[in-house]
């Protein structure tokens, strides 16, 4: 068969950008192995989302609509996903490496006795795939033996799929096993800013900002003047200046915006792992020896407490 089964994600009853990225990667891989790109969507009351999925050029959409799948939990979802993968004889199960993708796919892989490659950034001929290791200091060429295979892809490595063609939806019963996990609560971080991983511009602050208060009074005005998302280095997060979901790096989010502005960030290996694929990188740091300048397209050696408010003003002028 040789088909690729893409796992679609949704949040607040909308397909996520990660889903469109996965479809795009799935189509690319299906093209390489000569199969179809199909999708599966799991949840409760997701009929219209399944229909919407068909408009992104996937050959077939399997909808598993079940009250037991109202909240994502790994055991029930993995069990339902594996039922679909087995019933439809999928060759590859693929999703984007989001929090859900990372939680779900390895569990499904073990249930299917399948090998798995995480955070794949490119597909090559002969079943070869590339993925970063050692915080992006090495790019590995890997392949998976046996069938099926499980692959998560890095969100920044593929462009989101666009609308084309149409396919059919097939309902599939959940038959999910699990029940060992109960969803209790989701404390969503509310923000009017763009989502960090989707933003066109990201402004990140480091430990040199010295306090959470300075993130608010110094960095945030620039973030908002640019209509950007705010990020932070691990050092700033560890110091408690900002919550961890703003962390960019090997152990945080991986971003690749059109413009990344690093403010008061020295450029530790683990931070670079999360942003070095950005199109344009700007570094503002008073230490001209800071490693961040080695990856920056434009570097400004300056005291951030002077430079950032100035830049906020300059940007505001531009918009008028």
């Amino acid at each position: 068969m040789g088909n690729v089964l893409v796992v679609a994600e949704h949040l607040h009853h909308k397909l996520t950008k990660a889903t469109l990225v996965a479809i795009s990667a799935g189509k690319q891989l299906a093209g390489k192995i000569g199969g179809e790109c199909q999708a599966v969507i799991l949840g409760k009351g997701i009929g219209d989302l399944a229909t919407e999925l068909t408009s992104y050029g996937v050959a077939k959409v399997y909808a598993v609509d079940d009250a037991g799948l109202e909240h994502y939990v790994a055991d029930a979802y993995a069990s339902a996903l594996c039922n679909v993968a087995k019933e439809k004889g999928a060759e590859v199960i693929l999703a984007t490496a989001t929090a859900i993708g990372k939680d779900l796919l390895p569990r499904a892989a073990a249930l299917l006795n399948a090998g798995m490659a995480s955070e794949v950034t490119g597909f090559h001929d002969g079943g070869m795939m590339e993925r970063p290791m050692y915080a992006g200091n090495a790019i590995a060429m890997v392949s998976i033996e046996g069938s099926p295979k499980v692959v998560s892809v890095r969100a920044t490595a593929f462009d989101p799929a666009t609308k084309e063609g149409s396919g059919a939806v097939e309902q599939i019963a959940a038959k999910a096993e699990g029940g060992g996990t109960k969803f209790v609560a989701f404390n969503e971080t509310k923000s009017d800013r763009p989502v960090l991983t989707d933003a066109r511009i990201v402004v990140s602050g480091g430990r040199a900002l010295k306090s959470g208060e300075n993130f608010k009074t110094v960095l945030e005005p620039l973030v908002d003047a640019l209509g950007a998302a705010m990020g932070a280095s691990r050092a700033a997060v560890d110091a408690g200046y900002v919550p961890n979901d703003l962390q960019v790096g090997q152990t945080g989010k991986v971003v690749a915006p059109a413009l990344y502005i690093a403010v008061g960030i020295s450029g530790a290996i683990q931070h670079l792992a999360g942003m070095k694929d950005s199109k344009i990188i700007v570094a503002i740091n008073k230490d001209e020896e800071a490693p961040i300048f080695q990856v920056a397209d434009y570097g400004l050696v300056a005291d951030l407490f002077k430079a950032v408010p100035e830049m906020t003003e300059e940007v505001a002028k531009l918009k008028h």
Binding site: A97, R107, A110, A138, T181, N187, I201, Q250, V295, L318
Partner: protein
Amino acid sequence: MKIIATVKRVPDPNATIKVKPDGSGIVTDNLKYVVNPFDEIAIEEALRLKATVAGAEVILVSIGSKAAAEQLRTGLAMGADRAILVIAEQELDSLGVARILEKLTKDEGAGIVIMGKQAIDDDANQTGQMLAALLGWPQATFASKIESLESEEEKKGVPGIVVKGDSAQVVREVDGGLETLEVRMPAVVTVDLRLNVPRYASLPGIMKARKKELKEIPVADLGVDVAPKLKVHKLEPPPKRQAGRKVASVQELVQVLHNEAKVI
């Protein structure tokens, strides 16, 4: 309750990693090795959990070369009770590692397995989830907590995993916020950075650790299938990013971003 915490020997996260010219691996000369930073957090959580459960025991497990004994001793010095080192010199993938852990978890009759969410060498983030699947146990990945690492709770060493009867409540880091789950025990928990600040081994701890049991088991003795399905063929250095240029002022910076790069 037996608590298993996993310990992987990995290159120091602050070391500069270089790929060998022939692409067969990384340059290991003079490379310092440490406990995977996420596993340190797992050990800390296991020790905190032990303090809240009467009669609990913390067992460390590592899989790899004999040299990993060094990292297990570090964990024993932090306060773990004993350690198991599965000697495996061959390449293993996450599924193989999960199968080894499955066997040990069953043999020990452990009530919870706490692991780092990923190892900082292969950055796979798979083994905990795979282990949970093989055991048929629930999983709570990316465990964190609501209180900050500077909070009083943290300073008092309160565990983030709250065991209540036959279930455990775990706060997880997910995209866009924190999620709370209740998992039936036994379960696998993988930990994220914001769960705790690991303790340092004390001098008496280091002395005591020398006398603690560290059992070596050749992987072949376990009788599990560890043939890797994920094959690593070659490593390459990442494409180098060209360093750009310095600008003299904020005005110049905004100008080039607007007129040259056209990103604002």
